[in-house]
């Protein structure tokens, strides 16, 4: 494998990172929205959030990519491939992050809510100043875990035809006829990106369980 092939793979890698960043960045605001809707006592907010989560966690990411890729143009949006993929990844991330953060919000003891109410804090302040900062800390390991999941998930854009790291690997492997070498390198590149994240997530989890046992 020469420098030319390697630089092609690195170009694909940059797209993988880009897609992950867009999906994650987009997933954060929508995920917070989904989580807040999901813990709401209003049925008209809670039910759609439950349906949204069920829809994206009950279907393969690959299908979500296909439906966005072929469905968005039908709705009249003329989007480049990367945008369709990014929209699908954002929606996917919002449902998973929403569910993670829903769990974290509900893990905050009721006493905190009651204390905030007793102090006469308004609803907004109770959620954003008391509950969410604590929930954020609890949810961090799972959130980092999902980031790894999302990074790996971007490889499916290859099946839709978008050239990111895996698709670039496919193309190079077809040119060189050395699939094991190429996919070994591609796998090592993914590992180099995901493993530090996984390690960080595990560290966070360990330090948290230490704190809980004190």
């Amino acid at each position: 494998m020469g420098t030319q092939e390697l630089s092609y793979l690195l170009l694909g890698l940059s797209w993988t990172l880009g897609l992950t960043a867009i999906g994650f960045a987009g997933g954060i605001p929508f995920g917070i929205g989904i989580a807040l809707m999901r813990v709401s006592s209003n049925n008209w907010l809670r039910r759609p959030a439950m349906a949204w989560i069920g829809l994206f966690q009950g279907t393969p990411l690959l299908m979500q990519l296909f439906v966005a890729y072929f469905g968005l143009p039908l709705l009249g949006f003329n989007l480049p491939a990367w945008a369709a993929v990014a929209i699908a990844l954002t929606a996917h991330a919002s449902s998973f992050l929403g569910e993670i953060w829903r769990g974290a919000i509900q893990a905050i003891t009721k006493g905190q809510t009651e204390a905030a109410l007793a102090l006469g804090l308004p609803d907004r302040s109770r959620m954003f100043d008391v509950i969410l900062p604590q929930a954020f800390k609890i949810s961090l390991p799972a959130t980092v875990g999902f980031l790894v999941q999302l990074l790996k998930g971007t490889s499916l854009a290859a099946i839709v035809g978008f050239i990111e790291l895996t698709r670039a690997g496919n193309i190079v492997s077809n040119q060189l006829y050395r699939p094991l070498l190429v996919f070994g390198v591609v796998g090592a590149m993914y590992f180099a990106m995901c493993w530090p994240l996984s390690w960080w997530g595990r560290k966070l989890e360990q330090s948290m369980s230490k704190g809980a046992n004190k």
Binding site: G58, V67, G76, G153, I159, F183, G187, Y190, W195
Partner: protein, 220 residues
Amino acid sequence: MKLDFSVVVDAWPKLISGTIGTINLAIAGMCIALVIGILGVAILRAQMRIPTLLVNAFIEIIRNTPFLVQIYFIFFALPLIGISLNPTATAIIALGLNGGAYAIEIIRGGVESISKGQTEAGLALGLHKHEVFFYIVLKPALRTIYPSLCSQFILLTLTTAICTSISAFELTYVGQRIEGETFRSFEVYFTLTMIYLVISFLTMGLLNAIGRWAFNYPQR
């Protein structure tokens, strides 16, 4: 914009056989995953240095690389070591290896959740060794890990969609064939999405019902 689902609906016999293919892949993959999971935990508990290192390396590699890259790698690697299998069998092996890495973690958590005092209490009450293992160690451990194993199974079922990339016979592969014949991309994939949704909901309901029936005894 004009949608035409009739061509997809007309292909229902193919969709059903594809659905069965997907379920077969998931079940076969899960069986291999459970075997790998139990073996892996046994090796880790033996606490020998090199085998432990190998199992941990296996877990880290599988968990930190995409399934698509793993399945390509296995697809091209098996023939080189003299094993030629059809795509569906290759897909089952890939699913099993992938699920196995996660199963090791889940089962290890279950085994570690049983405290030693529980075994000793069982023995002190005069239960036979086998009874202690089945009723006091295995059943509570299974109950602890059952929810995680169920969601792992659902995840594995959804992962089977990726096996279309090596043309294993399953629902997405069938869908892509129908798409190639009819050019109704959106209709095909929308229908597939709904079928997957039904599969995962029914599986979840079934597994929950089994769980309620199998672990129907009071806790504490």
